[in-house]
C-alpha cells in the first residue's frame, strides 16, 4: 500500500504527464515520443516479440541459440490455476548473467518477456504471464555471452487468451 490510486484508464490519462516526466528522466529520446499515435519504445525488440518459434525469437533477440543447463532454475506451476495469470520465476547460479528471457512456446508469439541484468543485479526475476494453452515454458539466461536454458511443461485448462 505504498501509493494511492484512482484506477481505471490511468495509463492513457497519464500519457501527457508521463511524456514530460520521461523527457526529464532522459530515459527515452523525446523525438520518439512526438508522434501522436502509437510508436514502439526505441529499445523494444519488436522483431523478437513477433516470432512464432523459440529458436527464431532467440535468434532475433540474442543472435544465437541456447543449450540446456541445470544451472538455470525455472519455477512454474505444474498446473496453472488460470492461464491469465501464471506466476513464473527464473534464477540462475551461472556467472556474469546479463539477460534473462521467458518464452511460452505455443503462445501466438513465443517470447513473453526479456530482462536486462546489469552488473550488481542478481540473476533472478519473478513475473506473471498469460498462457493460451498447455505448453512448454522456457527460461533462457545469458551468461558470459552464451545462452543457457531450462524448460518445464505447464498445464493450462483455463486459457489466458479467451474473451
Amino acid at each position: 500500500m505504498t501509493m494511492s490510486s484512482d484506477a481505471a484508464g490511468c495509463a492513457r490519462r497519464s500519457m501527457l504527464r508521463g511524456m514530460a516526466g520521461l523527457a526529464g528522466l532522459g530515459l527515452f529520446e523525446a523525438s520518439r515520443l512526438l508522434p501522436a499515435y502509437a510508436a514502439d519504445a526505441p529499445d523494444w525488440p519488436q522483431a523478437a516479440f513477433k516470432q512464432k518459434s523459440e529458436i527464431d525469437a532467440l535468434k532475433q533477440l540474442y543472435g544465437k541459440n541456447a543449450e540446456a543447463s541445470d544451472k538455470v532454475t525455472l519455477d512454474a506451476p505444474e498446473i496453472a490455476e488460470n492461464g491469465a495469470v501464471v506466476p513464473i520465476a527464473v534464477t540462475s547460479s551461472l556467472p556474469n548473467v546479463t539477460a534473462i528471457a521467458v518464452l511460452v512456446v505455443e503462445n501466438p508469439y513465443t517470447l513473453a518477456a526479456a530482462y536486462q541484468i546489469p552488473a550488481g543485479t542478481r540473476p533472478a526475476v519473478a513475473n506473471r504471464l498469460k498462457m493460451a494453452k498447455t505448453t512448454k515454458v522456457v527460461a533462457v539466461v545469458e551468461s558470459d555471452g552464451k545462452l543457457y536454458s531450462a524448460s518445464r511443461d505447464v498445464k493450462v485448462t483455463v486459457g489466458g487468451c479467451g474473451g
Partner: protein, 280 residues
C-alpha cells in the same frame, strides 16, 4: 435438444422425494452441524484456513496464490476504496458517518438483521443506503467502485472474526430460513444447488479449479478473480454462480441473495475476515 430437456425434466421429477425434514428453524444446531461437517471432512485443513477457499485444499494452487499474494492485484482496489471512503459527499458527510466505528474494522458484523426495516442489511446495501441518504446516486453492485469500497472495508477488518447475529425475531429466522432454502435449492438447467458445488463437491476439481468449501466462503469477499481480470463483489459472485448452472440470476442485492449471504456468513461465524481475496 428436446430429448435432453425431457430427460432433465425426468431427472427432476424422478429425484422427487417425500419431504420428511423437520421444519423447525434451529440456526445454532445447524451452525454446529455445518461446521462439524467440513472440519470432519477436511481434517488436515486448519480451521482458520477455510477462509482461503480452494487454496486450503490444493498444494499447487496454494503456491501460486502465495506468489500472487506477494503483491496482490486487489491492492489497487483497496487504495481506491480508501480514497473514496475518505472523500466527502456533496453535503460534506462521508461514508464513515453512516457506520459504527467510522466504518473501520466492522466487516465481520455484516450482514445483519435490521429490526426496523425487517430486512437483512449487507455491507453493499448499507453502502448504497448511505449514499442515497446523503443525496448521492447508488453504485453498481457488482464491481468497480462498490468492489473498491468493500475491499477497503474488509481490509481494515482482516483477522476479526465473523460474528453474525440472528436475533430472536421471527422475521430474522424467516430470512435465515429463506437463505438456507435458496442455498440448498437446485436450480438452472444443470440442476445444481449452491450446495451441490460447495458442500457435496467441495474440494473437487472442475478442470483446474478447486471448488471452495461453503464454510468460510464469504470471508474473502470481495475478490479479484483472474477469470474476470478484475474485482467482483458478493453480488457478482452470486449472479455468476447462478449463470454457471444456467439459471437466470436475481437482481444484485435481491432480498433472497441477501438472505443467502446472511445464512452463509452466519455458518462461517468464528472464522476471520480475509478479504479482499485473490481467486482463480
Amino acid at each position: 435438444m428436446l430429448r435432453k430437456v425431457l430427460i432433465i425434466g425426468a431427472i427432476v421429477l424422478g429425484g422427487a422425494q417425500v419431504a420428511c425434514a423437520d421444519d423447525a428453524v434451529d440456526p445454532k444446531a445447524e451452525f454446529k452441524a455445518f461446521r462439524d461437517y467440513f472440519v470432519g471432512r477436511f481434517p488436515k485443513v486448519p480451521f482458520d484456513d477455510f477462509v482461503n477457499g480452494p487454496y486450503s485444499m490444493d498444494e499447487g494452487l496454494r503456491k501460486q496464490w502465495k506468489d500472487i499474494e506477494e503483491f496482490p492485484p486487489y491492492e489497487f482496489a483497496v487504495d481506491k476504496g480508501k480514497e473514496m471512503f475518505a472523500k466527502p459527499f456533496a453535503n460534506g458527510k462521508t461514508y464513515a458517518d453512516c457506520f459504527p466505528n467510522q466504518g473501520i474494522g466492522i466487516r465481520q458484523n455484516f450482514p445483519y438483521f435490521d429490526a426496523k426495516s425487517g430486512q437483512v442489511i449487507t455491507l453493499e446495501l448499507a453502502l448504497n443506503q448511505c449514499r442515497e441518504a446523503n443525496g448521492e446516486k447508488p453504485l453498481d453492485y457488482v464491481k468497480d467502485d462498490m468492489a473498491a469500497l468493500t475491499a477497503y472495508m474488509a481490509f481494515t477488518s482482516r483477522g476479526k472474526r465473523f460474528d453474525i447475529k440472528i436475533p430472536d425475531d421471527p422475521r430474522a429466522l424467516a430470512a435465515y430460513r429463506k437463505g438456507e432454502e435458496y442455498f440448498y435449492t437446485r436450480r438452472g438447467q444443470l440442476n445444481f444447488s449452491c450446495a451441490s458445488c460447495h458442500v457435496q463437491s467441495a474440494g473437487n476439481h472442475i478442470r483446474t479449479e478447486v471448488l471452495a468449501p461453503a464454510l468460510g466462503i464469504m470471508a474473502a469477499m470481495p475478490i479479484y478473480r483472474s477469470e474476470w481480470g478484475a474485482m467482483g463483489t458478493t453480488s457478482r459472485r452470486f449472479t455468476t454462480c447462478n449463470s454457471q448452472v444456467r439459471a437466470v440470476p436475481l437482481p444484485p442485492q435481491d432480498e433472497l441473495y441477501r438472505d443467502v449471504e446472511y445464512f452463509l456468513t452466519y455458518m462461517g461465524n468464528g472464522l476471520p475476515v480475509s478479504g479482499p481475496g485473490a481467486r482463480p
